[in-house]
């Protein structure tokens, strides 16, 4: 099978098990449950899911030279994910999020950018790999200056090596430097260099300010507009609703790197909606969007059709949400998915 490199955002999620109704009261001691340290970010999540699906994955990103960094590296090693391109820096701490998630309540995050601020794409190797997946520019500030010049340079380098390029986004915090970036201009500049774009609707709402999308038709129109901006394959995930998948014409696929080159006939000019699978018990929604991206990319590198790949995206995402091991999914024959 084709090889994939996942590059960019890498961090650890620190999730204390909390009782219901907990609040922050100054001066008060409250008993809580054990702390769960879970490596995360696009590199760990999408990379890990692809590896679990049987894809040969290598990773690229920046960690701090600290305990958290060692935990993340160890996690990647144990899951058979290549770490030769992971940089360990003494200039910043490993990025982390404290996840505040009491039972029955919405989640709150406290996020430290840390070593992810040092990722500028220059250390990513474009040799001996077929698809480069990058996530998430809003949390990788070194990629953003000058309308995403560093991101565009990385994508161009991959394209020159005839790789297929893929990009995932994250929600843009309006109060961060990324919140002040011109995302309309940035995406218009880089999308012609992006073959596969798999953001969530939330990512696009927060970066592009598209507030008017409230129904499926609007979502599919938005996906089509991103194809018009230059991407070849766009999948927008809308949480529990499902995913909209939209693709460009045959001409664009001809410039889509090694992975898309063989798929033109069955993938061009697609416009479809795939409703999410019902989930019995939600274990976590953490990494569900990354899992959907992994399902889509697996579909591409395994040579599936567009509807099969969309089906894979929602299947892998549902498994992630239910806490089922991705490796247990029987995807050997995509026709049965």
């Amino acid at each position: 099978m084709l090889k994939v490199t996942v590059a960019g955002h890498i961090c650890a999620d620190l999730t204390p098990e909390l009782p219901a109704g907990i609040g922050i009261v100054p001066g008060q001691l409250t008993n809580v449950g054990p702390l769960i340290i879970r490596p995360g970010g696009c590199v760990v999540n999408t990379g890990g899911d692809l590896a679990a699906l049987g894809v040969d994955v290598t990773t690229s990103g920046v960690l701090g030279s600290d305990e958290l960094g060692r935990i993340v590296l160890d996690h990647l090693d144990r899951h058979g994910i290549g770490t030769a391109n992971i940089e360990v820096s003494t200039n910043a701490a490993t990025s982390y999020s404290v996840v505040i998630e009491p039972p029955g309540m919405n989640r709150t995050f406290w996020h430290h950018v840390g070593a992810n601020a040092l990722f500028d794409g220059t250390s990513v190797s474009v040799n001996d790999t077929d698809l480069l997946h990058i996530g998430y520019p809003p949390l990788l500030p070194a990629l953003l200056p000058d309308s995403g010049a560093a991101l565009a340079a990385l994508l161009r380098r991959a394209r020159t090596a005839d790789m297929t390029t893929s990009l995932d986004m994250a929600v843009v915090d309006a109060n961060s430097p990324a919140g002040r970036a011109d995302w309309h201009g940035l995406l218009k500049r880089i999308l012609p260099l992006v073959d596969v774009f798999s953001p969530s609707l939330e990512d696009l709402r927060s970066s592009l300010g598209v507030q008017s999308i409230v129904d499926r038709d609007g979502l599919q129109r938005l996906a089509r507009s991103l194809i018009d901006d230059g991407a070849a394959v766009v999948m927008i995930s809308a949480g529990e609703d499902g995913v909209a998948l939209c693709t460009a014409g045959a001409e664009r696929f001809a410039h889509g790197g090694r992975v898309l080159a063989d798929l033109t006939a069955q993938w061009c000019d697609v416009d479809l909606w795939m409703p999410a699978l019902p989930v019995e018990q939600i274990k976590t929604t953490n990494g569900a969007g990354d899992a959907a991206s992994a399902g889509l990319l697996y579909g591409l590198v395994a040579g599936c059709s567009a509807p099969q790949a969309a089906r894979l995206a929602i299947t892998v995402a549902a498994a992630k949400i239910q806490g089922d091991p991705i490796a247990n999914l029987s995807l050997a024959n995509p026709n049965v998915v």
Binding site: A20, G21, P102, P103, G104, M105, N106, L201, E202, G209, Q211, S212, I213, V214, D215, R216, D217, L219, A238, G239, E240, D241
Partner: protein
């Protein structure tokens, strides 16, 4: 009783026979005993008598949520009404939403130890399978408002899913597409069912559920007011708010008072003075008094040794349009 016997100049046994209405007691002696009872103000202890004989105690237990919430007060009044007709008093234990499953079980077992004839329980979300042995030992239980987890016993609940689905359809029909949803913790079954109904109606209309602002775990009206205020200050605020219960509805009303653009409010549960609110309200209402009555009737049927399979009654809801227009 010893004093009565002494004053009337009869044995304790004779006093007991008079008190229990045995007709073979000599009329003159019976009159003397009754005069002594009246003189001393003697009250026979029915509970002690029942304990000794194993007979019913003419008391039932009620384990209920916060009775300052009008819905629970109304449920209780319905149950009391039926109990009165059965010559039965109710011992009430209030177990709030934030109290633990263990506190709830403690209250239920405490009432069982007091030898109540049966129990009506508004259950929390804990596993109640351990109560099976109490029911089998002869303390029947009826569950009201929510079905018990881990136990198949009589229950009477509301069509939560259908009710919220209908209210949301009403809002969608009136042109709303952007929604805020405020509900209490989803560990409470009524809340997760109401949220499921909201999802149903959004999906059937092709509206993205994920784009609605759904906030869970909101309990006090002031918290709901804060949540709704934050929703309305967003770039593309909801044009309609759905609240999972009346406390959230009251909080939402408080929040939209400060708004210049009209915001529609729908919510589960009617509440007192809702018709006087200065904003239009769409409320999912049901007959809580009837639910309390029906629960008590089911319980008395079981106390009367009815051994049919457990019954699960689901009450229908209706949509009310109350309140006035914005000034």
């Amino acid at each position: 009783m010893v004093d009565v016997a002494s004053l009337a100049g009869v044995s304790i046994k004779t006093v007991s026979r008079v008190v229990n209405g045995v007709t073979t007691v000599d009329a003159e002696i019976a009159t003397r005993v009754r005069a002594a009872i009246a003189h001393l103000g003697f009250q026979p202890n029915q509970l002690a008598a029942a304990l000794k004989s194993g007979a019913p105690t003419a008391t039932i237990g009620l384990v209920i949520k916060d009775v300052s919430n009008d819905i629970y007060a109304t449920l209780m009044l319905g149950a009391i009404d039926v109990a009165r007709h059965h010559g039965t008093q109710i011992i009430t234990s209030v177990i709030g939403e934030s109290q633990s499953d263990i506190e709830e079980l403690d209250a239920i077992y405490d009432l069982c130890r007091r030898r109540v004839d049966g129990l009506i329980v508004v259950p929390g979300s804990g596993d109640l399978s351990g109560l099976r042995s109490q029911i089998d030992l002869g303390t029947p239980m009826v569950f009201m408002d929510r079905r018990p987890h881990g136990l198949n016993a009589d229950s009477i609940t509301v069509d939560n899913r259908g009710g919220s689905r209908e209210a949301m359809r009403d809002l969608i029909m009136r042109g709303h597409r952007r929604f805020g949803v405020v509900v209490d913790s989803l560990s409470i079954d009524t809340m997760s069912e109401r949220l499921a109904g909201i999802r149903d109606s959004l999906r059937e209309s092709g509206i993205l559920v994920s784009q609605s602002q759904i906030v869970t775990g909101v309990r006090a009206p002031t918290d709901a007011a804060g949540v709704v205020t934050r929703m309305l200050n967003m770039t593309a605020p909801p044009t309609a708010i759905f609240c999972g219960n009346s406390r959230s509805t009251i909080g939402a009303i408080e929040a939209i008072r400060a708004q210049t653009t009209p915001v529609a409010i729908a919510g589960f549960d009617a509440f007192p003075l809702a018709h006087l609110m200065p904003v239009p309200l769409t409320l999912v209402s049901y007959d809580a008094n009837f639910m309390g009555q029906r629960a008590a009737e089911l319980l008395f049927r079981r106390i009367g040794s009815d051994s049919r399979e457990p019954e699960h009654v689901v009450l229908a809801t209706k949509l009310l349009h109350l309140g006035g227009s914005l000034a």
